[in-house]
Structure formats: C-alpha cells, structure tokens
C-alpha cells in the first residue's frame, strides 16, 4: 500500500489506493471523480423532486405530476428550461465578478463530497483531517454569494448578500463546535474513521450536537426558517435577483447541492454513514441522506422566517453557549471513558442534559424578540 506525500503538503497524508482497488492511483481518482459528480447531480435532481412534491403534498396540493410518471422528470424539464433561457447581464454590473460568482459558489459544494465515504474506504480522498477540510471549504461558497450580490449592482442583491455573510459567519462557530463533540468521541477527524467508530449511531450519544448541527447547517445553506437571504417576499430574490439562464441554474444547483452536502455530513457524523444490515452500504447512505433532507423540507414548509437580527442573536446567544456546554460535557464524558464503558449511561445523561438545557436556556436566558430602534 503506497502512500503519497506531496512536498509541502506532507502534513496531509492520504491513502492512494484502498486495499482492494485495481489499477492504481489515477484510476481511483478518475473513478471517484466521476462518481462524485454523477452522485451530486443525480441526488440534486432527486432532491429537487422530493422537495417540490413533498412541499406540495404538505400544502394540500399535488405538486408536479405531469412530466414523466409521478412527475419524476420535472427536474430534467427545469434544467432544460433554464439552459435555454437568455443570459441577461445588467449593464452596470461588474462583468467578471458577475460571471465568476456562480463558479466560486458551486465548486466548494462539489469539493465537499471528496471526503464523504459511500462505503468502507470508498471515497475520493481519505484525508486524515476530513471534517476540518469540509468546514474550511464550505465557507468559500459565501465568497461566491457575496460576489454575486456585489457584482449585480442592485440594492436588493447587496442586502441579500450582506445578510448572507452575516449569517454564515455567525453560524460557523456553533457548527464547528457541534462537530468537535463527535470528533472527541470518535477520536479522529477522518470521516471514514468516524463512520467506522460508530457502533451505535452518534445521534444517540450526541443528541444536542445533532440538533445544533442541523440548525446551524440549515442556516449555513440558507434554508427556511433562515432563508431571509433569498426571502421571496422581501427582497425579491436576494443575491440571485439579477441572474438568469445557466448562471441561475448554477445558483439553484448550489442551494440544493449544499443541502445534499449538509445532509451527507449529518448522515456521516451522526447517523452511522453507510452502516446497516441487508442493503448495500451506498444504498443505506442514500436512504439516510434522503431522510435528513426530508426533515429539512418539513421544517421549511412549516415554520415562518426569522429576521436578520433575530437570526444573529439566536446564533450568538443561544446556539453558541449551548454548543460550548455540549462540548464541555462531552469532553468530561470522554475523559471518564464513558463511550466505551458506560454507553447507556452516556445516552441517558446526554438526552437529559439536552432537554434540560434547551428548556432552561430558552425560558430564562434567551428571548427571540428584538426592539425598535429610535430614529
């Protein structure tokens, strides 16, 4: 088994060939690149269909059911429609920034999938800093979104883009802290190792971490109830108001690709990744991913939207202290050796702690409202 070490990147060791892979390094790379791109695009299509159909049914209407059997070809129809539309660029826009923004926003969404395992050892690059890489890369999309808002030279877009930057910066911290709890229990940053270490899914061991990650993840990817970045009823379409045609398709793809990415990360970190009886591993992975995504669709259809200052107050005053407390308690438990020895005690204690902390914090320390500013 050869390991590749590239010069200044010798801190990052990756496994060049998995144990039973024929062909060598470059075939592995080619195969998984194709798999990742194909997987992302197919999942995005499937996920768009689930969202539209699911939201439609929850709103007591049918959802798309004309194109193809049960409307399954609707995303294909959307894609074709959007490709054929005229590409309008506002005259006062900054051309290069406007053109580059979708690319800068989309690339990180794809890159996240490089480290997500589909089966044991089946991933593009088994980095030993897996989850850290994911967190770092996912912040780069924000630059793309801000470029879109700025380059459109439109006040609505700028408002939307600035809101987005504020939100992403605020929610980055609870996100990362929720992940650290999992990392402590698993003992490694590599995503493959984390999945292998889950004899029981970490959602039972880290319920509060799961909730925090889910909420912070929804906020990072601009989904309801945190979708004020592209709030239809306020700022028309936020940062992608001035986009049409293929570039709009890229932003649309970005939104759903990131949703799939966050669902994939949640599945890997908390739900046991590809583990499960009977079905092949990659199928389990897909099923769990779709379940998490369905939960996201559910919250989108049900809850109203919160305002930007409430959003930030929620991140800094509620999620951050909770995630710190969660980390502290998890660290104590890991030091005492609970994950291996007293696993049932750990589950019960963590659930109790989660329920207690949410109740106490929301009742006494944090209120979601804000006030009027005196002019």
């Amino acid at each position: 088994m050869a390991t590749g070490e590239l010069g200044i990147y010798n801190l990052v060791k990756f496994q060049a060939i998995p144990p039973d892979w024929p062909g060598g390094f470059w075939w592995h790379w080619l195969f998984f690149t194709v798999v990742v791109i194909g997987f992302v695009l197919t999942m995005v299509m499937g996920v768009i269909y689930i969202e539209r159909r699911g939201m439609g049914r929850m709103q007591s209407r049918l959802g798309p059911n004309r194109t193809g059997p049960f409307g399954l070809l609707q995303p294909v129809a959307d894609a074709i429609k959007v490709l054929l539309k005229e590409n309008i660029v506002p005259v006062a826009a900054d051309k290069i920034v406007h053109w580059l923004a979708p690319v800068v926003a989309f690339a990180p969404a794809l890159m996240i999938f490089a480290v997500i395992p589909f089966a044991n050892g089946a991933l593009l690059a088994d980095l030993n800093i897996g989850i850290l890489y994911v967190v770092a890369i996912s912040s780069v999309s924000t630059v793309g979104i801000f470029m879109a808002g700025w380059g459109s030279s439109n006040k609505y877009s700028l408002l939307g883009a600035m809101r987005n930057v504020a939100a992403v910066v605020s929610y980055e911290i609870p996100l990362v802290l929720a992940v650290v709890g999992v990392v402590l229990i698993a003992g490694s940053l590599s995503l493959n190792q984390i999945v292998v270490a889950q004899e029981i899914p970490f959602i039972l061991l880290q319920p509060l971490g799961f909730l925090l990650f889910f909420i912070a993840g929804c906020a990072e990817i601009n989904r309801s109830p945190f979708d004020l970045m592209e709030a239809d009823s306020e700022i028309v379409a936020g940062f992608h108001t001035e986009y049409s045609g293929m570039k709009f398709a890229m932003f649309y793809l970005v939104e759903y690709a990131e949703a799939v990415a966050i669902s994939a990360i949640i599945t890997t970190l908390f739900l046991g990744g590809w583990q499960g009886p009977l079905l092949p591993p990659w199928l389990w992975f897909v099923v769990k991913l779709l379940l998490v995504f369905f939960a996201m669709v559910w919250t989108r259809t049900t809850l109203p939207r919160i305002r930007i200052d409430q959003l930030m107050a929620f991140a800094w005053k509620f999620l951050l202290p909770m995630s710190l407390l969660n980390l502290f308690i998890t660290a104590l438990q890991v030091l005492a050796g609970w994950p291996t020895q007293l696993i049932w005690a750990m589950i019960i204690v963590n659930f109790a702690v989660m329920a207690l902390m949410i109740l106490i914090w929301s009742r006494f320390f944090f209120r979601l409202g804000w006030g009027k500013i005196e002019i």
Partner: protein
C-alpha cells in the same frame, strides 16, 4: 465612535412579490433600518368615480365590483345601500337576509386571504396561504352557485338582489357551516402560538388607539388597537340589529393583534351566518324599482363594515339617470395614512410584515 453611514433609497417597486398588488414604496434605509417611507399610488387608477357619472345607477354596480376585488359582495352592498337611501327604496325581507349571508360569507373569504397573505409575508412559505385558500374555494363555489361568477359577482341591486338562491345553495351552505368550525380551530392551532411568529409580529408596528382614531383607521386595524367601533353595531344597516354577535377587540395594536383580530372576526361571522340561515324567510328578492332609477335631487352617504374597514359611498344626485357625483370612501387608502409612523425604526423585514398586516387591496386605493 459611531461609524458614519449614509441612508439610501430602496424602491419596492410596483412589481414585487409581496406588495399585495401594484403598490410602490420608496423606502429610505439606513443599513437595514427604515428611516422613512413614501408610498406612491396610482398604478391601478381607472377613474371609477368619473366613469360612474356616465353610467346609470344600476350600471355602476359592475364598476363597484372591481374596487376591492377580493370582496365584491361588500362593495355591491355598500353602493346599493347608498342608492336605496337616496331614492327611498324599501328592501324586502328575504333579500335582506340573503344580503347578510352573502356579506358575511364574503367577509370570511376576504379575511382568509388577509390572514394567509400576512402569514406568507412572515415567511411561512405559502403553506398557511394554501390552507386558507382551500376554504375560500368552498365559499367561492357557493357564490358561483348564486351569481354565476367567482370573483366579481355583480349580485346586489338597488332594492334587493338580482336573482334568488338556487335550490342547491342552502344544502351546500349547511355543509359548509358544519365543517367550518373545525377549520377555524385549525387556523388557531396552526401558527398562533408559534414562537417565531410571535417574535416577528408581537410588539412590531404598534398603532395606539389615539393614533388610529386620528388617522381615521377603521375595520380590523382600528379594533386591534383597542377601539370598540364596528359599523354593524354602532350604526346598524340592513338587518344587523336582529343578530347576536360580539365585537372582539385586542389591546396593543401590533401586527400579532391584527392577525388575531381577523381570526376572531371570522368566528363572529360564522355566528351571524348561522342565525341568518335559520331565520331566512321566503318572499320576493327584489323590490319593484324601475329599470332606470331616477332618485330625487339630494345626497346620501351609506357605509358598511367591509372586511377592510368602513366602506362608504357618497352619492349626489340631480334627478338624472346617472349619479352626479359618486365618491367612494376607500378603507385601504385611509388605513395606510398611519403606515409611515408605524414603520419608522423597524427593519426591512418588519416593513413588509407591518404593511401586510394593514391588508390593502390596490383596486380600492386607486379606484
């Protein structure tokens, strides 16, 4: 040391997903905080008041449909009340009861849209809106049975209604009344206690009672600010004094109270319809009026409690077949007088919510 900022003007243009029609607002913003707004009207101005001077008294009724196009029955009724007051026409009893049933059904339908649109503005992505539309479909089906139309009914006439109810109307109405209370409870449960909604709407855009009276606000906006004034009780028209119903009021006058007020008013409307249904007599549905009404010279002002507020028609006649002057008192326009004071100091997101909670229809503003 404060950072120096400069306010900029954001134009929430006539074409916007949430301005409830072609309504334009020029908002001066300092970051996200609203410093000033200037509403710009006139994108749907059709000159209805001038057109009314060139139509016969009966010919104005289709024009009145298009005022507040989501509550056409109320507009028709207000105009017919004004003509009857001017010409001294007496309306038969069955016609009065049918008018009350139609007006209250229309109130429920219009309030459903108001509540749904408000929740939509809050961000609950169309879900409550579509649930409200489910019920509105049933009401609109009832109206279609009676008048043949789904939106602009042209049903009332000076002296009664244009035609009697078909046989399938009453059974359908009974079925509607049986299942509606369950849906009213569902609306209550849906989002009334939701923490996000309470955080968004409570305490936001407060309109005190004195401000409301000074700005001539009326309807749910006035009652949510704590003023117990309902034209159906204070100045009863038609046969509203035969019915037993309450006038709910709220205390604070913020967006949440206006939302609550509308849901409570829907309940009271159901009570009125139930009583009217039981007491419905038989008889003629239209008084004997000539085809071309020629009221004696004079003036009259008739008002009613439309879903949006006090809708009134001021008619001046000079003994001709067309009105000399027909002025419409638009509740939506007058309720908007208070918008500027309600909105200053809040953020853009609140601007949309406050504006949605006043509930306007541009057809009525611009006429």
């Amino acid at each position: 040391m404060a950072v120096k900022t400069e306010p900029f003007v954001l134009n929430m243009g006539p074409v916007h997903p949430s301005t409830h029609g072609v309504f334009r607002m020029r908002a001066t913003l300092d970051g996200e905080v609203v410093v000033d707004i200037e509403p710009v009207f006139g994108y749907l101005h059709r000159g209805i008041e001038k057109l009314a001077e060139q139509r016969t008294y009966t010919g104005v009724i289709p024009l009145t449909d298009r005022l507040d196009y989501i509550s056409s029955m109320s507009n028709n009724l207000a105009y017919c009340l004004a003509v009857e007051k001017l010409a001294g026409i007496k309306v038969p009893e069955r016609a009065e009861y049918i008018r009350v049933i139609m007006a209250e059904l229309q109130r429920i339908a219009a309030l459903l849209i108001a509540v749904g649109a408000f929740l939509n503005d809050c961000g609950a992505y169309f879900t409550p809106f579509l649930y409200m539309f489910r019920e509105r479909e049933r009401i609109v089906d009832l109206f279609e049975m009676a008048s043949g139309q789904r939106l602009t009914y042209n049903y009332m006439r000076a002296g009664g209604v244009s035609q009697d109810l078909p046989e399938e109307f009453m059974p359908a109405l009974r079925k509607f009344m049986d299942m509606m209370p369950r849906y009213m409870d569902e609306y209550d449960r849906l989002l009334m206690q939701n923490e996000i909604l309470i955080a968004r709407a409570k305490g936001v855009g407060i309109l005190t009672a004195e401000q409301a009276i000074n700005c001539s606000a009326s309807g749910p906006v006035l009652r949510a600010s704590g003023v117990k004034w309902d034209v159906r009780k204070a100045d009863p028209y038609s046969i509203y004094d035969h019915f037993d119903f309450d006038v709910p009021i709220q205390q604070t006058g913020d967006c949440y109270d206006r939302y609550r007020q509308r849901v409570e008013e829907m309940r009271q409307s159901l009570r009125i319809i139930q009583q009217a249904m039981e007491q419905l007599p038989s008889g003629p549905v239209k008084a004997e009026v000539p085809h071309l009404i020629r009221p004696p010279a004079g003036e009259a002002y008739a008002r009613l409690e439309a879903p949006k507020g006090e809708l009134g028609f001021y008619l001046v006649s000079d003994n001709a077949i067309a009105p000399y002057r027909c002025h419409i008192r638009p509740p939506s326009l007058i309720n908007l007088t208070a918008l500027r004071d309600m909105v200053r100091g809040w953020k853009v997101a609140d601007l949309i919510i406050i504006f949605g909670s006043i509930d306007i229809t541009v057809g009525e503003i611009d006429r």
